[in-house]
Symmetry: C2
């Protein structure tokens, strides 16, 4: 049995970053950037008005006030998207819209709210200082600057930034193809009728969804019965993917054939017990470039160890380093008790109370009780040596979303 | 000019929850549940072994120890997915796998680790108490229980729970169809060449991505020039969607036709200035069942007010009430200064330092500087009356993801 941190290190040491592919910008949301994005030109590319108003020489407004406005002659009118060749001289102004290029000679913009229009003229009621209400060339981005490093998750801001750089498409990591195989004679496919002793396969649905949210491409290989030949054939199929996740069949019993069959399929075992609760009987192995995870059959154990081990592996295949989840401080609502010398993942709901959060543990923490994952906003993590935390204590909760 | 909270209330008061549609379970991830999900049967449906081992009568193990094992006759062998008709009597044991139904008569399971197999017999080295290592029927879910209320976001745990209930498909809210229209003669479609005074349209890319992440279905209507006829035609097209977002053209200038054209298109204005920074010139109106947002042309202003106003509207159309974002406490790394009597949204990066977070403000907070959104993990929100927070203070950061 090894510690979770050691297990994760073993997993991550086996990861190879996947090849890149080029996708259309609008399809890049949620993907991982596979190139350093530099800028080819200043953004904005020119000094421009930051407000609607009048471009002037600031000195000309020195004496302007509500009572004694200064009157300018308006020599041009520049909407955004247009420009003027006129040069602003003393006593002259150019009407200008936000985003339009500053005319030559002007060094400030008077806001339209501080003016009054007259035939061919404008009254200015307010003083402006040099450079006021101007966005300068390169203010957002300077030519040659590294804008977004590879390995970044592409969020709405990155999509927008890439658009503003004029990138029609972008190099991203291919998604890891992840095969998911549920094992167990007790499992029945959703939609069929249950017989005594049977339950619906839910783990492959959880894993399918978790792979999607982690940025992988999931494939359900279905349910494998606890028969050696059947299992071996399915596992061999799964080994053609970059990642194979098995659910169930990695504990101590005779019928838990999986570890044996994995060996026969040429999978080299790296570990098969991790000091976490839930989720101790967790297997990890490799065959060529395929990572193989054997997760416990209990629904909660399977989901928790996906988060602990598989998600970081998928992130690393994408070249991401940000698999660590945000932690939020909260006040524990109810004493938690969890025995055993393993790291414990207590499922809690977070409720906002005033300016802080309260963490309410799920009523049942049994690893068969999927309801506790439906309940949970996150995990309260108890270190190996801690078996109890009192109600009212401040705790740190690892967010699931 | 109205306060953000008031603006949001006005928006939400106009929202109608959308109709439901039935989708396949595997496609339901990220959707919003449109029905209360009750359970039709106990889960598990039967008492079952929680460990691989031997089902026995617990009293029979009372004297068992490492040195003096108790020997049982093994009368049956039950893998998961199977069951036995044999009844366990005194001195007898049934070999049983995790998840298999408990045989009649037995009231506990001895873990396989605490036993040793012999021909037709098993040695038990350890005492078990009544009900030990059994999962009882209905432990996860009781028949008739409300499992997931409508309005819930469907996450991996909900998908798995629905699978375990045998649901092949699920009733979810239809996605709001959201039209996105960029306005401004200075805007050029990505892929084309820029002329003097022009910039690439990036707002519609940001908005497209933000709509996707909020659970809506985005449509880009392209770029509308600042010509009345063109604008009117595009706006009329946009009014056939459930939500129309315009970007740009809602500030003070003459060329900002949008508000006038919206009125002509029959859009009833509800407000058009909000006391936030960035993002003051933000319009909201309605026409029949279409909500119309006019967001500022500045990239950051547009993104921030999408988060502040449009996202809550989309969530409400889906019947979700959880649009409020998680807040994390952090230590401010650098003094922030933001003048004006508006609520300010300072873009900050969160960096983990030991057990807590440090919030680092983006170097430029100008609303034209998209880089600040690429930088940001969240917003540090300054109330109206606060214009400065000192470095080293504890602040609360609203997470963007």
């Amino acid at each position: 049995m090894i510690e979770l941190e050691e297990a994760r290190e073993i997993v991550l040491s086996q990861v190879k970053v996947l090849a890149p592919e080029r996708v259309d910008l609008l399809s890049s949301l949620g993907r991982t950037l596979a190139e350093d994005v530099y800028d080819d030109f200043d953004i904005p590319g020119f000094d421009r008005a930051a407000m609607d108003g009048y471009a002037v020489i600031s000195k000309d407004t020195d004496s302007a006030s509500k009572k004694k406005p200064v009157v300018f002659e308006v020599i041009a009118d520049v909407p955004a998207g247009y420009s003027t060749k006129e040069r602003v001289r003393r006593g002259k102004a150019v009407r200008i819209m936000t985003g339009a290029p500053m005319p030559q000679g002007a060094d400030a913009v008077v806001m339209v709210e501080d003016t009054e229009k007259e035939e061919g003229k404008v009254k200015v009621f307010c003083r402006v200082t040099r450079e006021e209400n101007i966005s300068f060339a390169g203010e957002d981005v300077r030519k040659g600057e590294l804008i977004i490093p590879q390995g970044s998750l592409i969020r709405p801001a990155e999509v927008a930034m890439l658009a503003s750089l004029g990138k029609k498409n972008v190099l991203v990591r291919t998604k890891p193809r992840v095969a998911i195989l549920s094992t167990g004679d007790e499992l029945v496919e959703v939609g069929k009728t249950l017989k005594k002793g049977e339950i619906y396969d839910s783990n492959s649905f959880a894993l399918f969804s978790q792979v999607l949210l982690s940025g992988g491409e999931p494939y359900r290989l279905g349910i494998a019965l606890d028969k050696k030949e059947n299992l071996l054939a399915r596992i061999k199929e799964g080994l053609s993917y970059q990642l194979l996740i098995l659910s169930g069949g990695v504990s101590m019993g005779d019928y838990d054939l999986v570890t044996g069959v994995l060996k026969e399929a040429g999978v080299k075992m790296m570990f098969w017990k991790v000091a976490v609760k839930p989720g101790k009987p967790t297997f990890f192995g490799i065959r060529k470039d395929t990572l193989v995870f054997g997760l416990p059959g209990y629904p909660v154990s399977s989901m928790v160890n996906f988060e602990n081990l598989v998600r970081p592996a998928i992130f690393s295949m994408l070249g991401r380093r940000d698999w660590q989840r945000i932690r939020v401080k909260a006040i524990l609502k109810k004493t938690v008790l969890s025995r055993g010398k393993r790291k414990k993942f207590i499922r809690v709901k977070l409720i906002k109370e005033g300016d802080s959060y309260v963490a309410v543990p799920a009523p049942s923490q049994h690893s068969g009780v999927l309801k506790s994952m439906v309940w949970a906003d996150g995990f309260l993590i108890l270190p190996q040596e801690v078996e109890r935390i009192e109600e009212g204590k401040e705790v740190s909760v690892e967010l699931l979303k």
